[in-house]
């Protein structure tokens, strides 16, 4: 597939926002957030999670040909994971806003709102991942690992962000959050590595023989029917060499996972180190998502193997 940066930014940003909320709420559950200053920190963190989700939402509009009609996308939630995501994302933002507001105003019941937000947050991970995992003939995506990786990568990057955020607002949380972020990043690395191994072993179910229905083992395309490009040749091919793809793979494994884990594991992570972890991991995860799209091999490509 041709990776679309709108969708890359959407999924990376909302994943980090969701992970940030989960990290902050875990802090609350473990006893943080009693004093006014601590509650304000949680409120600000919630605000940051909403900001990231909102940026992701804005990015998603750039993917639409007719963004002014985006409201229609909530209609088919019974059958479409995309429609479900369109509903659940604003729902998550709204409940997260309620949670942050309750902390800022010093209201009771933040844990109840938080639990609700966790449920919606997890539902959002499922919706986002299922958009891809439900397309069974995109074999690289059609796996439980897709779901697992969206969840793990989101929580890992959000927790890294939470650690950096805490270095400004709640320094006593930093060691625990940095440790959690390091461990989650390593678990996410294992999950992503598992999907890379799985995808490397995939055997395409569709072949040129099944595509045109000819049983002969030797079939070569001589013409795709046109000399110029078309939507089919633009949308479904990334156009990069196998070498470039390999370089991007090693880059995202290093920048998205290994380097941040090393930085986070440093004995006394300073503010600078934590911010560096966030920036490096963000760059790495953008590349990770790019690779996720590029690696998916659409069966329609079988029909576009030779211009003429």
């Amino acid at each position: 597939m041709q990776p679309a940066f709108s969708v890359i930014f959407l999924t990376v940003l909302i994943g980090a926002g969701q992970g940030l909320f989960l990290a902050l709420f875990s802090c609350e559950l473990s006893g943080f957030g009693t004093g006014q200053g601590e509650r304000l920190a949680l409120a600000q963190g919630g605000g940051l999670a909403i900001l990231l989700s909102a940026l992701g939402l804005v990015a998603s509009f750039f993917h639409l040909g007719r963004p002014e009609r985006a409201w229609r996308a909530a209609a088919m939630w019974r059958t479409s994971w995309l429609s479900r995501e369109v509903i659940v994302l604003p729902m998550f933002m709204a409940i997260c806003a309620g949670w942050a507001l309750a902390h800022a105003a010093g209201w009771a019941g933040t844990r109840l709102i938080g639990v609700l937000a966790v449920v919606v947050c997890l539902a959002l991970f499922v919706c986002t991942a299922m958009i891809y995992a439900s397309l069974k003939f995109l074999q690289e995506w059609a796996s439980k690992l897709t779901l697992l990786n969206y969840l793990l990568i989101g929580t890992a990057s959000g927790t890294t962000l939470a650690a950096a955020f805490a270095s400004f607002t709640a320094p006593r949380l930093v060691p625990a959050l940095a440790l959690a972020a390091c461990l989650l990043t390593l678990v996410a690395l294992a999950g992503r590595a598992a999907s890379l191994v799985r995808n490397a072993r995939l055997k395409p179910r569709s072949t040129i023989q099944s595509a045109i229905g000819v049983r002969n083992p030797v079939v070569r395309q001589r013409s795709q029917g046109f000399m110029g490009g078309s939507y089919n040749t633009r949308e479904f091919f990334h156009g990069r060499s196998a070498q470039a793809l390999r370089s991007i793979k090693w880059f995202f494994l290093a920048a998205g996972f290994v380097l941040p884990a090393v930085l986070l594991a440093s004995l006394d992570p300073t503010r600078g180190v934590l911010l560096l972890s966030v920036v490096v991991q963000f760059a790495g995860l953008i590349a990770e998502r790019w690779f996720f799209f590029a690696q998916a091999n659409h069966p329609q490509n079988l029909y576009y193997q030779a211009v003429s």
């Binding site: 040909g65 007719r66 059958t79 000819v214 030797v218 029917g225 069966p299 329609q300």
Partner: protein, 206 residues
């Protein structure tokens, strides 16, 4: 239940592209809006088409055959492009099984095109909505046309009668007979989409 579809005879398709051009002509002139080309006179032109003819070489030289292969939306009985549409713009008509896009509801998210294993859908660059073969729905249902002309433009244009059109659920129809008697097959049966369009395989020459 009616399921309109095309049956394409690979024995007689000569790869003349008449179906491609007549499809483009009919569908760019219709009430649903033009089928536009993007940058048509530039260095990298692209255009939307509902139908293409591709060419494949089968076998090892000198025992090769050239197969011309017309490709358009197969109007699947279980179309994967329909349930994924977030707006309901992509739908399958109950009365005749045609898979259509409501251009006024489409938001151009392209998800349906990702969900079609055949690459049958193309975005219209000018209107930014998804387009696809309609089986010339505005032609085949137009009662002001003589009955013999209520067929898709591609079928009307084919000089070798390689394209048959009809109801594949009616066992007595010409298309059902052709499928039955000449082993009409589905493309990519491995995905369970149950394409309504079928292809008639090459027959052994004596």
């Amino acid at each position: 239940m009616t399921q309109l579809a095309l049956v394409i005879d690979l024995n007689v398709c000569v790869g003349c592209h008449a179906c491609v051009t007549s499809c483009k002509q009919w569908n760019t002139s219709g009430s649903a809006g033009p089928l536009t080309d993007d940058n048509p006179y530039g260095a990298d032109p692209i255009g939307s088409f509902f139908n293409r003819v591709q060419t494949f070489e089968v076998g090892e030289y000198p025992a090769t055959q050239t197969v011309h292969f017309p490709k358009s939306c197969l109007h699947c009985e279980d179309p994967p492009c329909v349930p994924v549409c977030p707006t309901g713009a992509s739908y399958k008509r109950k009365e005749d099984g045609i898979v259509l896009v409501d251009y006024d509801k489409c938001i151009g998210c392209k998800y349906c095109s990702w969900a079609c294993p055949y690459g049958a859908r193309e975005i219209d660059e000018a209107r930014q909505v998804m387009t696809k073969c309609t089986l010339c729905v505005d032609r085949i249902t137009d009662t002001s046309l003589p009955e013999a002309e209520r067929k898709p433009a591609c079928v009307m244009a084919c000089p070798t009668n390689a394209r048959l059109f009809g109801d594949v659920h009616d066992p007595k129809s010409e298309v059902s007979q052709a499928i039955r008697e000449r082993d009409g097959y589905e493309l990519m049966p491995e995905w369970g989409t149950r394409p309504a369009n079928r292809y008639l395989p090459r027959r052994q020459a004596d």
